[in-house]
């Protein structure tokens, strides 16, 4: 017969609550006045909604017609335990007592909505932005006998005609005097002897054809208490409004004939009551999780993802953004190139970045190295990796950055006996780092520093992106990965012929060292100051970093990954969602900003990526590395370069006697 209210909260209410708690109330948990409302003009089929919207904290609400305001209380619990331990039974009894009092004094007719107050018990976790809440709509039960005797039926033609004549009132509870065909205030009826020709009308939030809304029950109690002695039966019209086609009708209303003969003892001790809202038929609280829209970190993460998704939705539907975002990137070097690469990786949604650098931020750095600020360079300056990690987190709090202050051992820089243990540890650490990441970026400032990461990258079959700068020139390339079954030919730079090296005939692509016939040695000592710090036009590094990241992403989304063949010509139809993927990108700012995309096959005698080097590393590990650091020409021996040079010199000596400058010589 009675349908409970279904509470409905507006997100605006939670925003307001969070705001007030943070700024106004703080730790003050005294009850706060709030207002809710319900409507008796709901579409048939809808549940019995009790609305607590954004206006809940206002004194006066602006609501559409046929909405009825209810006054309530907001009780805040400081902790989850306080919420659970809260004495709900006492609260209900307290509220019921107030309603009973309101009925006894007749106040309920001055302010009918005092028959329908509500309470919201809430625990607001403002770190997680979750709100646990429980609503209470106190309601006094009717006796079982009474309920059985109440007659409920639809509106008859006679009743419709009466309502047609009367002025429909927007109040929660009112009455119609049939004799005068006018509305009557219930309070006025208290002074009458009988209730002949009086119909009561109350707004009914239910749309059900057989049951009335929760709010009607207290109304019935009030009417019985005051008018039970004056009449044998109370007629209550539970009014529902239907708005359709710009017409309003009340044809869905129900009429209750309430016999008054059953005893009604309206005291706290005698009545039974209920009111705590059930959550899917269980007496449990409900929860609103608003972290997605309130937690700034979540908002940031979602906004960044959304931005990338727009690219996918509107332009490149086959783009696998998740694959890109999940890449774990290891950056060797946190200088000019490193800072820009790291920042751009964030833009692509990458969050796992590891930075390796042994430098500290100096005063010349912030202008060129985009993750550093002036403060980072000041007295007792911090390490580059620390500063970079800190600023990356300030840009995107969701990123996970590991900052490692490590020196990379290099060929031609012998390791002193004292240092050997420390360097061994570093080597193990570096090996594990490369193994555990998906991609490594070589962004270092010397040739020899790139040797070890190149070997490790090739050994562990990772995507290796290498960027190197000249004064006004740049090289950005990806190292080749082993292709099972393919041998590597002697390598020369093929040039920019329009020939796609297709996957079926692809040879292994070269690395940074494949074009060289000299082992990397110490290039640092004996250099002048300007040669020691890389002096380049500032734009060069930005261009190179951008190309490095885009080249990396193109590889990731290519079905063959790092092993994809090298494209040389623009018009080749790409397998990758992002277009053809070159092997190398070389550019010169001073040559009319020329840029070419050559490719180099892996060199069988390469000092870094050839089989002889990798095998030596595999067999002898750290020991082999130490031999290289101490004497880089060792590399020329094991790769066969040394022998090759000797042979070439011999050939040269044997075969070529003289060179003529005279073109007309017939020789």
């Amino acid at each position: 017969m009675i349908i409970p209210f279904l509470s409905s909260f507006d997100i605006g209410f939670w925003y307001q609550l969070a705001d007030k708690k943070l700024n106004d109330w703080k730790l003050d948990n005294s009850p706060k006045i709030i207002r809710g409302h319900f409507s008796n003009a709901l579409k048939p089929g809808l549940p019995c909604i009790f609305d607590i919207c954004e206006q809940a904290f206002k004194d006066k609400l602006q609501l559409p017609s046929f909405c009825h305001v209810s006054n309530g209380k907001l009780l805040l619990a400081n902790t989850k335990e306080d919420f659970s331990k809260f004495d709900k039974k006492s609260l209900l009894q307290f509220e019921i007592a107030k309603i009973i009092d309101s009925i006894h004094t007749g106040h309920c007719f001055d302010e009918p909505t005092s028959l329908m107050p509500f309470t919201v018990l809430c625990f607001a976790d403002l770190k997680k932005y979750t709100f646990v809440y429980w609503c209470c709509f106190p309601s006094i039960h009717l006796s079982v006998d009474l309920v059985a005797d109440i007659n409920i039926c639809a509106l008859s033609d006679n009743e419709t005609a009466v309502l047609d004549d009367a002025t429909l009132c927007n109040d929660f509870l009112w009455a119609i005097d049939l004799n005068s065909r006018s509305n009557v205030n219930c309070k006025e009826l208290l002074t009458r002897e009988t209730l002949d020709g009086v119909w009561f009308v109350c707004a009914d939030p239910s749309t059900d054809t057989k049951s009335v809304g929760w709010s009607c029950r207290n109304v019935i109690n009030a009417l019985l208490f005051h008018f039970g002695s004056k009449t044998k039966s109370i007629k209550l019209i539970c009014l529902r409004i239907v708005s359709e086609n710009n017409e309003t009708s009340y044809r869905n209303s129900l009429v209750l004939d309430i016999p008054t003969r059953h005893a009604l003892e309206l005291t706290e001790e005698a009545v039974s009551c209920s009111g705590w809202e059930k959550n899917k038929d269980k007496l449990l609280p409900k929860m609103a999780d608003l972290s997605k829209v309130m937690d700034p970190k979540v908002l940031s993460k979602n906004a960044v993802e959304l931005n990338l998704k727009l690219m996918k939705w509107r332009i490149v539907p086959d783009l696998d953004l998740d694959k890109i975002a999940q890449q774990k990137c290891l950056l060797f070097g946190a200088g000019t190139l490193g800072c820009n690469v790291a920042r751009l990786l964030l833009a692509w949604g990458v969050t796992k970045i590891t930075l390796v650098d042994n430098g500290r931020v100096s005063y010349s750095n912030p202008v060129r190295q985009s993750l550093f600020k002036f403060e980072d360079a000041m007295g007792g300056s911090c390490t580059k990796v620390e500063a970079a990690a800190k600023h990356l987190k300030q840009i995107n709090p969701s990123c996970e950055v590991d900052a490692l202050d490590l020196s990379i051992p290099m060929p031609g820089h012998p390791v002193a006996a004292l240092e050997k243990e420390k360097v061994t540890q570093t080597l193990q650490q570096l090996s594990e780092l490369v193994r555990s990441h998906d991609c490594i970026f070589l962004l270092l400032d010397t040739r020899e520093a790139r040797w070890l990461p190149t070997v490790l990258g090739k050994f562990y079959r990772k995507i290796v992106i290498n960027a190197a700068l000249g004064f006004d020139s740049y090289l950005v390339m990806r190292h080749g990965v082993q292709i099972p079954g393919a041998g590597s030919a002697t390598g020369d730079v093929i040039g920019t012929s329009s020939m796609l090296v297709s996957n079926s005939s692809v040879k292994e692509l070269g690395c940074y060292f494949c074009s060289d016939v000299m082992a990397p040695g110490d290039s640092l000592s004996d250099r002048t100051l300007d040669q020691q710090c890389t002096v380049t036009r500032p734009g060069t590094s930005m261009i190179a970093s951008s190309l490095a990241v885009e080249l990396f992403v193109s590889c990731v989304v290519h079905p063959d990954g790092a092993a994809c063949g090298a494209s040389i010509c623009e018009s080749e139809s790409p397998d990758s969602a992002l277009g053809p993927v070159p092997h190398q990108i070389r550019g010169w700012l001073s040559q009319l900003y020329k840029q070419i995309t050559p490719y180099v096959e892996a060199y069988s005698k390469c000092v870094a990526c050839s089989a002889s080097v990798l095998d030596a590393y595999k067999e002898r590990g750290v020991q082999f590395l130490f031999e290289v650091f101490n004497e880089p020409s060792f590399l020329e021996d094991i790769t066969g370069l040394a022998r090759l040079k000797i042979e070439m010199e011999e050939d040269f000596a044997n075969e070529i006697i003289a060179l003529s400058d005279d073109d007309n010589d017939d020789d």
């Binding site: 409905s8 809440y133 086609n245 509107r314």
Partner: protein, 174 residues
């Protein structure tokens, strides 16, 4: 062929939509005005929908705002979708519904994104207006242009996009 509107067109269409509608039940729609005096349509509706696939239907609250886009010269639909607890339902869930509902002729025409609501400044879902003029142009070509009345633009527009979004349209009971 595109069908674009001026703001004046939009404003009079809103008024006709509310007063002369024989197809859609407009009792829940109202005309509002922004601080700068621009009109927009507003509605709060409760619908029963499956939020998760193969779960029970639940009550879901929609709040619709139809504003005018100066740059695209078409109406823009902003909406929020919440559970009864006030918890917003995520873009992904809406996205799934969109892809389920899309028909071949309109694939790609309905892009739902999360953006900042221009009035409340809170996160809100939006049907991006970039393809609206085209979509409406296509629809117009399919209809008998003599029968076109002002109210029809918005009715067609709402019906089309609600259907694409998987939102039930309240129709007038015949």
């Amino acid at each position: 062929m595109k069908w674009e509107l001026s703001y004046e067109d939009f404003r009079s269409m809103c008024k006709s939509f509310l007063s002369q509608n024989s197809a859609i039940d407009v009792s829940k729609w109202s005309l509002e005005e922004t601080n700068s005096g621009c009109v927009y349509l507003s509605s709060t509706q409760l619908k029963s929908e499956q939020i998760e696939q193969s779960a029970d239907s639940e009550w879901v609250k929609y709040e619709f705002n139809i504003l005018y886009s100066e740059s695209f010269r078409v109406p823009v639909l902003y909406f929020t979708k919440q559970t009864l607890s006030g918890e917003p339902i995520s873009v992904h869930k809406v996205d799934e519904r969109v892809s389920c509902q899309q028909r071949d002729s309109f694939s790609g025409e309905c892009v739902v994104t999360q953006s900042e609501h221009p009035l409340s400044h809170r996160p809100s879902l939006m049907v991006h207006p970039c393809r609206t003029a085209e979509v409406m142009g296509q629809l117009n070509a399919m209809l008998d242009s003599e029968k076109y009345r002002e109210a029809d633009y918005l009715t067609m527009w709402i019906t089309t996009y609600f259907t694409l979004l998987g939102i039930e349209v309240d129709l007038v009971k015949q």
